[in-house]
């Protein structure tokens, strides 16, 4: 039966090539856009080396500090807060403190290069799973003793040493000199947690002003013993926040933050205008899905219009089938199958086009160190979108068709 439907569908599609082309273009174009967007989102939020233990890691990305004069400051946390209240949490197995990356200058062979420098502690390297190409990370001892050692990425190693071994040699960035301890693969600029060109110990900062800074530029990364511990960590942090004492109590009254994933942090930044640390990830997910549906609405309406015209041309065929006893349900089924076939063909074209575009985007170097790859998650998003699209745009015309009266249809009457 299905085989017959498919045969008919292909014959119908070939009958009006120009309009089949238009439908396919509309479908594949929409799906390409959706798949590109989901690839970008996956690149920023999905698990990607070195952040592979996503089921056990949480972060503290932004804190909201309420000032006594009713103002507030939102941004990365100050060092003292993370050091005193987050590092001391009992539930996590490991806690790492690191700074936001800063753009610094490096002069190599008479040329200036802008590099991103991130300061971290030793635990950073135990929580994240960097695959070292050469050498290894710096340690907690290096951080304690303020040793001028650095981990650099592949691009920076290439820049300074042109393919020669880098470990043990010295680089000069931002007016400071560091001995290279290890080389890691490039991390895409999207990865808030792990991205940088050069990683150096926190204590090598030019001045120790950061220890007392009231507005900070630091983030924390927490690794749970096992995935089930995540809620406990979140809870422990909230109880700890209640007893935070400010170095300057005249100025600050409260601090609001949460241990969360990056996605949750972005969601809280968008929706969490009220003063709590609730989880808003569901809202953001709903918003993204809503936007995707809205985005598919226009092309779906177009497809419905085209489909209605297609049925019209086949009025006599439908009339014959009805006269010979085909039920409305069968006809609806047939038409939906035809439409889903059309969208799946469009989906396949879209899939190939997105593969091509993602490769081109990676090759263009438009987004630093981005390496877009098609993975099963993006493939599933695309497939789901295509199916949704096919059903959404197929059901209404099919329903309309099934209501056609056999007598009228045989006469070739319009709808």
């Amino acid at each position: 039966m299905l085989k017959n439907y498919l045969k008919i569908a292909i014959k119908v599609l070939l009958r009006r090539k120009f309009f089949t082309l238009i439908s396919l273009f509309g479908i594949s174009f929409t799906l390409v856009v959706l798949m590109l967007v989901s690839a970008l989102l996956d690149h920023a939020f999905g698990p990607l080396p070195p952040e592979v233990r996503t089921d056990r890691t949480l972060g503290i990305y932004t804190v909201r500090m309420l000032l006594t004069n009713n103002f507030e400051r939102t941004g990365p946390a100050p060092y003292w807060f993370l050091d005193r209240y987050v590092r001391t949490l009992a539930t996590p197995e490991r806690v790492s403190l690191y700074s936001t990356q800063r753009s610094v200058a490096a002069y190599v062979a008479g040329e200036k290069h802008s590099l991103f420098l991130k300061r971290t502690d030793g635990e950073f390297w135990n929580i994240l799973d960097f695959q070292f190409l050469e050498g290894g990370p710096f340690t907690a001892a290096d951080e304690r003793e303020a040793n001028f050692v650095a981990v650099i990425n592949q691009a920076t190693a290439e820049l300074f040493f042109k393919g020669q071994p880098a470990v043990g040699r010295t680089i000069a960035v931002d007016g400071q000199r560091f001995r290279v301890a290890g080389v890691v693969p490039n991390v895409p600029i999207f990865r808030v947690t792990s991205f940088a060109d050069v990683w150096v110990p926190l204590s090598t900062a030019k001045s120790n002003g950061y220890l007392r800074e009231s507005t900070g530029s630091f983030l924390a990364l927490l690794l749970a013993r096992h995935p089930g511990d995540l809620p406990k960590i979140k809870e422990e942090l909230q109880t700890t926040l209640a007893r935070v004492e400010f170095p300057d109590a005249r100025e600050y009254s409260r601090v609001i933050t949460a241990a969360e994933t990056l996605f949750e942090s972005v969601a809280r930044g968008l929706f969490g205008s009220d003063r709590d640390a609730r989880n808003y990830a569901g809202y953001l997910l709903g918003l993204l899905l809503g936007l995707a549906v809205l985005f598919m609405l226009l092309p779906a309406i177009n497809l419905i219009n085209l489909n209605v015209s297609r049925i019209l041309e086949r009025a006599s065929e439908i009339g014959v089938r009805k006269a010979f006893g085909a039920s409305s349900g069968t006809l609806v089924g047939q038409f939906v199958v035809e439409n889903v076939l059309l969208t799946l063909i469009g989906g396949a074209i879209g899939f190939v086009a997105s593969l091509f575009l993602l490769n081109a985007l990676t090759g263009s170097g438009l987004i630093q160190y981005a390496h877009f790859q098609m993975n099963y998650r993006i493939f599933l998003y695309g497939l789901a979108a295509a199916l949704f699209f096919g059903l959404f745009s197929g059901v209404y015309p099919a329903w309309k068709m099934s209501r056609l009266h056999p007598v009228d249809a045989l006469r070739g009457q319009s709808l």
């Binding site: 120009f18 309009f19 238009i22 273009f25 509309g26 174009f29 856009v33 753009s103 610094v104 200058a105 002069y107 008479g110 040329e111 200036k112 931002d174 007016g175 900062a205 030019k206 001045s207 002003g209 950061y210 007392r212 800074e213 009231s214 507005t215 226009l298 092309p299 309406i301 177009n302 219009n305 085209l306 209605v308 015209s309 019209l312 041309e313 070739g412 319009s414």
Partner: protein, 398 residues
């Protein structure tokens, strides 16, 4: 004729309604894109008021605990940095400034003046700022050493602010009031043509300069030093300069960037929203185009009999062509008129203060052109199909 076209469109209101909504929606987005483009284009041709070529910016990060307090030590270190700059023969002139051209972050101020709200950007600069950035002085004078002794605060304003505060009167020597900190006497000493710090794409605004002294511990040390280098100065100089600055202030960080490079970054940042909106608009346009082709094709196949009858009664192919194109135009116009009703509200209700009405009108006009062009292009193939209907075949249908 037009009345007849309206009737034809009305007869198929259900399939046309969806399309009209699409046209309405994409018209709104198009207006936004085109207005933004027209606004940028309009701003771009206005004079910038300063020269950014061969000027470099040295951003200073003092790695201090807070930005609100400064010590006498910081002031003297800044002074030493400034002195170090004088040693380089490559540097023509140097100055200090709170905020720098094409940089992020600036001091904004809102003053009540004679019952009117006057918004302006305020910058604190040293005496050599004028010559380093080649500002054009229109009246009065710039800051100099004679201001050291005065017991009032001198300010220089741009022409726009002068017009807004004093009309066509001479502003030189007039008190600037009320000032944000009470009890301080402030006088205007000069007027410059303009200083559009945010660059070419940003619209004109009010600007006010205060005088900053590097040798006065009561003045906060500047966050930026600007230097004008001699032509042909290259990156090896930048490296030497960075090393020298670092030697003077070991605990501070410096970011040396030519203004040309900062300009590139700033311009890109301004263009991102236009490009994003443009992409959305392009997507919508493609969808509207496809939808139109679909609906018109449906019209043609469904109305074979009607078209056949017209042909049989002697209508030419051109007349059929005209009919389909005319119907498309009516349909587009319905969506556009709805959109226009909404679009006109923005200048009427004064919702977009920064964009002038002429620029806005230009944007709307461009949007109209693009939309009508698209709908006409989309109706070409279906209307051609309609002319291919043979009267005999069409009438044979029954």
């Amino acid at each position: 004729m037009i009345k007849h076209l309206f009737k034809l469109v009305w007869n198929r209101k259900r399939s046309n309604l969806l399309l009209m909504f699409e046209i309405f929606f994409s018209f709104i987005v198009l207006v936004a894109v085109m207005t933004l483009a027209a606004y940028y284009q309009d701003n771009y041709r206005r004079p910038l008021g300063f020269v950014y070529e061969s000027v470099w910016n040295i951003g200073i990060d003092m790695n201090a605990a807070t930005n609100d307090v400064w010590s006498a030590e910081m002031v003297s270190t800044t002074q030493q940095l400034f002195l170090a700059l004088q040693d380089f023969p490559e540097i023509e002139s140097a100055c200090g400034a709170l905020s720098t051209p094409y940089g992020l972050g600036a001091r904004q101020s809102v003053n009540e003046f004679k019952g009117r709200r006057v918004e302006m950007e305020v910058n604190e600069v040293t005496d050599t700022f004028l010559q380093t950035l080649n500002l054009q002085l229109l009246a009065g004078r710039w800051f100099d050493q004679t201001d050291d002794a005065s017991n009032w605060k001198p300010v220089v304003i741009n022409q726009r602010l002068s017009r807004e505060l004093f009309g066509h009167d001479d502003p030189i020597g007039r008190p600037f009031e009320p000032w944000s900190s009470p009890g301080e006497e402030v006088r205007v000493i000069g007027v410059i043509s303009d200083f559009r710090r945010d660059g070419e794409f940003v619209g004109p605004g009010n600007y006010l300069f205060e005088r900053k002294r590097l040798d006065d511990p009561r003045h906060r040390p500047p966050a930026n030093l600007l230097i004008k280098v001699r032509p042909g100065t290259n990156v090896t100089f930048e490296e030497r300069l960075a090393a020298r600055l670092q030697a003077v202030a070991r605990e501070w960080s410096f970011e040396i960037r030519p203004l040309t490079r900062m300009r590139e970054v700033a311009m890109k940042l301004r263009l991102v929203p236009v490009i994003l909106l443009g992409l959305i608009a392009a997507f919508l346009m493609i969808m509207v185009g496809l939808g139109l082709v679909g609906v018109l094709w449906q019209n043609v196949t469904q109305r074979t009999k009607e078209i056949g009858l017209r042909r049989a009664k002697g209508a030419t192919a051109a007349a059929i062509h005209q009919q389909i194109l005319g119907e498309t135009l009516v349909l587009t116009s319905l969506g556009v008129v709805l959109g226009l009703i909404l679009v006109v509200q923005f200048p009427l209700l004064d919702l977009i203060s920064s964009v002038s009405v002429t620029v806005y009108a230009r944007g709307v006009l461009l949007a109209l052109l693009v939309l009508y062009g698209l709908t006409l292009a989309a109706s070409l193939y279906p209307s051609w199909l309609a002319t291919k209907v043979r009267p005999a075949q069409a009438l044979h249908y029954e």
